[in-house]
């Protein structure tokens, strides 16, 4: 039992980060059929924003809460820029967006490498996150609990936004039937842009949390994007429920695998796990029922 608790808790925190990253991916993919490979770099941007905020506001007690909205807006605007400059010319061609955003991701990594030192920058944990909670005898760092709380707040906010606001209704209408939505007066182009903004912004928020847990450097996006995609594949496209469950399961599974074998084998095993899972549910955990051909 004691051996189960640490990977369970650590894995949950990793899962929460993956959830934040995967939400952006699945929102953008589900909404527009666009795959944003540069989303990992948006996480990186969020982490560097956290570092820069700490330069401006030295007290980390204040700078972290300030960094959250700033990272959201900066990453969101970057996503908006990406949408307007590149993505909007290749809607409904997921493979092309995937390739183009690979290019964007390479460029962003290189830009970060030229601005910031290659070994990365330190982000200081605020005082109110420097403690541990005792969970059945295991000292669980506050910042991991904070990551989970942050992810849950973001998810709840996103779900409420989609479900209860008129804008959320327009988004859902666009996803279900773009032409019909347009016919009844929804400006689908605006819906696309705002969805891209929010999805990218969520990755920025994930970056703030990532900077508190792991390192902040130009390569950090790479280590989140692939597990985040595994989450999207396993969870089902555009399904918040599926994304939450898949993120948690994959985060925890990777933590357990890492405990039993090694961190590197854990990635291979997580991959195998997802491929096996796809044999059972090829469309992911939850799917939108359609009459289309699978």
């Amino acid at each position: 039992m004691d051996a189960l608790i640490p990977p369970l808790l650590n894995g949950s925190a990793v899962g929460a980060l993956l959830l934040l990253a995967a939400l952006g991916l699945t929102l953008i993919f589900g909404q527009m059929g666009v795959i944003n490979m540069a989303l990992g770099e948006f996480i990186m941007v969020g982490a560097f924003v956290t570092y820069l905020t700490q330069l401006v506001i030295p007290s980390s007690d204040i700078s972290i809460p300030v960094a959250l909205p700033v990272a959201f807006v900066v990453a969101g605007l970057l996503g908006l820029l990406l949408e307007v400059s590149i993505i909007q010319w290749m809607y409904r061609r997921p493979l092309d967006t995937l390739l183009a955003t690979v290019g964007v991701s390479l460029i962003l990594q290189q830009v970060a490498l030229q601005i910031f030192p290659a070994q990365g920058v330190p982000v200081e944990n605020p005082g109110w996150l420097q403690g541990q909670i005792d969970v059945f005898g295991y000292a669980w760092p506050y910042r991991q609990a904070f990551t989970i709380a942050l992810a849950l707040v973001c998810v709840a906010g996103l779900a409420a936004w989609l479900k209860y606001t008129s804008f959320g209704r327009r988004i859902r209408a666009t996803v279900q039937n773009r032409d019909l939505a347009e016919t009844v007066g929804v400006r689908t182009r605006n819906v696309d842009r705002i969805t891209f903004f929010v999805g990218s912004g969520l990755a920025g928020v994930a970056g703030v949390a990532a900077s508190l847990i792991g390192g902040t450097n130009s390569q950090m996006g790479v280590q989140y994007i692939i597990p985040a995609f595994l989450v999207v594949v396993a969870g089902g496209i555009g399904q918040i429920k599926g994304t939450i469950i898949a993120a948690w399961v994959i985060g925890v599974a990777m933590a357990f695998f890492a405990d039993w074998t090694s961190g590197s084998l854990a990635q291979v095993l997580a991959f195998v796990l997802v491929v096996i899972f796809l044999q059972v549910r090829p469309q992911g955990l939850f799917t939108v029922r359609t009459r289309g051909l699978a």
Binding site: L95, D96, V102, I107, V222, I226, F229, V233, F271, V275
Partner: protein
């Protein structure tokens, strides 16, 4: 898309013949040994690209993790060469470095045999790609999902190899090979031979692709790419068609990897991970994924750019590569080959018009 396949296939055969003469006869007599070796390296990458052209250009399967299969061939070859250099029944130096009493891992032992190594280079990718492809295609995993999953595998494999320093050499990889199937590697005549073998294999792979493209299988593969459901309704199983193309592409990647090792003299996880796999894609996309020559020439161009720019101006190279992805997908989705065929058809139509005009004048 369609236009690219309309070109008379026999022209391609003449093209391959010219290409073979250029690489096998002209290049060795003109170029220095240094450039022959480089050209060999680009040819090894081009072999991988032919396979990607088949799977992606013709089959619509974007394989973002071709580094995995490249690794199977490369590490099979590297293990054999390492053992050959160490001598019979001896332990390779790098293993002794970490532990003087180290035993050779069990999975290394068969690679002492030359025949086993050659078989492994061909059969390992068949097994891995076969199992993975069967699992994914039968459950109709496709498009972006498929691309991401293959890349995930490449990332995972590179991380795994990096971390197993005692078994695979880890981040430093395998190097310091002295012999290649009995031939001394540090000899220009033998280097030329290895170059010739690589180019020969490239030509063979192109011929295989050429034959596949004009066969019934090639038609079915194209049909699967463009309208998978219709192919299914006609009674074929698209999963099998894709599986065959994916496996052939994997074998080609493995062969490319195997030849890369004696030419370059080192294999590291960097050469097989996500960024290396992306480089393969970049070459194929640049050249034109659906054509026969596009992937080959694109891969060679990227290889040349990589080796000439990456050392002298690394940050610039990354920007160029990034922009390449964006510009090619935005403006030239079918690569430079489409530019060529567009020009070709313009020339043809104007020539047709001229001959018509001449005929009218004569009449």
């Amino acid at each position: 898309m369609k236009k690219l396949t309309k070109l008379n296939p026999w022209y391609s055969l003449i093209g391959i013949a010219v290409f073979a003469v250029l690489l096998l006869v002209v290049a060795p007599s003109v170029l220095s040994m240094h450039w022959i070796n480089n050209l060999g390296k680009y040819s090894a990458w081009a072999i991988v690209a032919v396979g990607i052209g088949l799977a992606w250009g013709r089959g619509g399967m974007l394989v973002m993790g071709q580094g995995v299969f490249f690794a199977l061939g490369a590490y099979s070859m590297a293990m054999h060469l390492t053992l050959e250099t160490a001598g019979p029944d001896a332990t390779p130096t790098f293993m002794i470095l970490y532990d003087p009493l180290a035993a050779v891992p069990a999975f290394w032992e068969p690679f002492r045999s030359e025949w086993f190594t050659v078989l492994a280079i061909v059969l390992l990718p068949v097994i891995v790609a076969g199992v993975l492809g069967y699992a994914l295609f039968k459950r109709r995993v496709k498009g972006a999902y498929f691309a991401i999953l293959t890349q995930a595998l490449a990332v995972a494999l590179a991380v795994l190899v990096s971390s197993t320093i005692r078994e695979t050499g880890g981040d430093t990889g395998l190097s310091d090979f002295k012999y290649f199937f009995g031939y001394v590697l540090n000899d220009d005549a033998n280097k030329l031979m290895i170059y010739m073998i690589t180019v020969g294999l490239l030509i063979v792979c192109m011929l295989v692709a050429w034959q596949l493209y004009r066969s019934r299988f090639g038609e079915l593969l194209l049909a699967t790419r463009d309208a998978e459901d219709r192919v299914r309704f006609l009674g074929y199983d698209p999963a099998n068609i894709k599986l065959v193309a994916f496996v052939i592409a994997a074998v080609m990647a493995s062969i490319g990897g195997a030849m890369f090792v004696p030419l370059v003299g080192i294999i590291t996880p960097q050469e097989i991970g996500a960024s290396a796999s992306i480089l393969f894609i970049a070459g194929v996309a640049l050249g034109g994924r659906a054509s026969l020559f596009g992937p080959v020439l694109g891969a060679m161009a990227i290889g040349w750019g990589q080796s000439s720019l990456a050392s002298s101006w690394p940050e610039g190279w990354i920007y160029i590569l990034g922009l390449l992805f964006i510009v090619v997908t935005l403006f030239l989705p079918n690569g430079l080959a489409s530019l060529f065929s567009r020009m070709w058809s313009t020339v043809r139509t104007s020539a047709d018009r001229r001959s018509q005009a001449e005929r009218r004048l004569a009449a």
